[in-house]
């Protein structure tokens, strides 16, 4: 098998005025992922290459970067699928660069936290001292399931054109999670959640370019969630009225 030409964008802001591309020649093997190629270069060619990774199975979301121009997970991209003998690795757009391929996702996590990404219930006592589960039908569950697959890798937000300029926009990840919790039949915080998104730099700054869904490795389809949420923001009503429903079968049952 021919060797792989691996170009990595190197940049240590504490020392370099601007980024530069450095090429490494890495022995290629069948089924090799881009992460494996990067780690080979780091372990055996230049220990100072900055790359972030952990699970190597697309569960943790650490290794988001731009590979051959598109945001992808390095562990989830095989060299073969890119075609050709060269791989170009750069940090994700729209996040500050800490070093080389490592970006600062601080604001990303902050924006996630700002959409109240958790179940909001009026039965605080039961919620924190549960006696039994809240009942959910399998089909009700399946409506939110794909949005729960989000691994917070940040690819969608780096792909979003609005995020490219608007620093206050929550971004596709946070908005899709706002939908995930608002659409959960157990949730009762939808009204406040959607009100908070109805602002100058809120949900309406999404123009459905769809790049978030295009790059999402886990099938979340954030663009779908965001558009579905827009309808509810427009009407001011969450997808379901949990207060009503909770009185009936969702009320926790007593132990038999």
């Amino acid at each position: 098998m021919t060797d792989l030409r691996l170009a990595i964008q190197r940049f240590d802001p504490s020392r370099d005025p601007k980024p530069r591309m450095v090429e490494y020649t890495v022995p290629r093997r069948q089924g090799m992922t881009v992460l494996e190629a990067l780690l080979f270069a780091r372990d055996y060619m230049d220990h100072s290459i900055g790359v972030r990774f952990s699970c190597r199975q697309a569960s943790c979301g650490s290794c988001g970067m731009k590979i051959n121009g598109r945001p992808r997970l390095a562990c989830y991209t095989q060299v073969d699928e890119l075609g050709g003998d060269s791989v170009v690795a750069q940090p994700m757009d729209n996040y500050a660069i800490i070093k080389d391929l490592v970006t600062d996702l601080g604001s990303f996590f902050q924006k996630h936290a700002q959409v109240t990404p958790r179940l909001v219930r009026s039965d605080a006592r039961e919620q924190d001292n549960p006696t039994k589960e809240y009942l959910i039908k399998p089909d009700e569950l399946s409506k939110v399931l794909q949005f729960t697959y989000c691994i917070k890798c940040g690819l969608c937000t780096s792909a979003c054109p609005t995020v490219a300029t608007d620093s206050k926009f929550p971004g596709p990840q946070a908005l899709a999670q706002a939908y995930r919790y608002t659409a959960d039949v157990r949730d009762q915080g939808g009204a406040e959640r959607i009100e908070s998104l109805d602002s100058e730099h809120g949900i309406w700054r999404c123009h459905f370019a769809g790049s978030c869904s295009y790059v999402c490795p886990k099938g979340v389809d954030p663009a779908l969630g965001v558009q579905l949420l827009k309808r509810h923001v427009m009407s001011g009503k969450p997808p379901h009225l949990a207060e009503e429903a909770s009185k009936e079968y969702r009320a926790p049952q007593t132990q038999t």
Partner: protein, 117 residues
């Protein structure tokens, strides 16, 4: 104003604009042959018909509100400082009022201004 109200305006003006512009284009190029459509007498008769005058005025308002609000959105997405946000809002309002007024002036003067062919 809640952003969703502004978006509702944006969507509504968009749909209306599509309908009105379509009629406008058809009138200028297809229902009447182009060379006739832009002749002074044809245009004068259009302005002097109440129906078409109202139509043109509606087209004016709808397209300008949609266009300048669209520009406002683009500018808001471009920069996010508080003064920028305030001045683009004010600028948008001023631009809409000014351009609508200017266009309305044309309509009114065409009808009442003693223009004759």
């Amino acid at each position: 104003m809640r952003e969703s109200r502004l978006m509702l305006i944006q969507y509504t003006t968009a749909v209306l604009a599509v309908a009105l512009v379509a009629v406008h284009l058809l009138m200028q190029g297809i229902i009447t042959p182009y060379s006739t459509a832009i002749s002074f007498s044809t245009i004068l008769s259009i302005y002097r018909s109440w129906f078409y005058a109202i139509f043109l005025e509606a087209l004016l308002v709808v397209v300008l509100v949609h266009g300048f609000n669209g520009l406002r959105i683009i500018l808001h997405e471009w920069k996010q400082t508080a003064p920028w946000s305030r001045w683009t809002d004010i600028g948008t309002l001023v631009a809409i009022v000014a351009t609508v007024a200017y266009g309305t002036r044309t309509v009114i003067l065409a009808i009442f201004g003693g223009v004759s062919g």
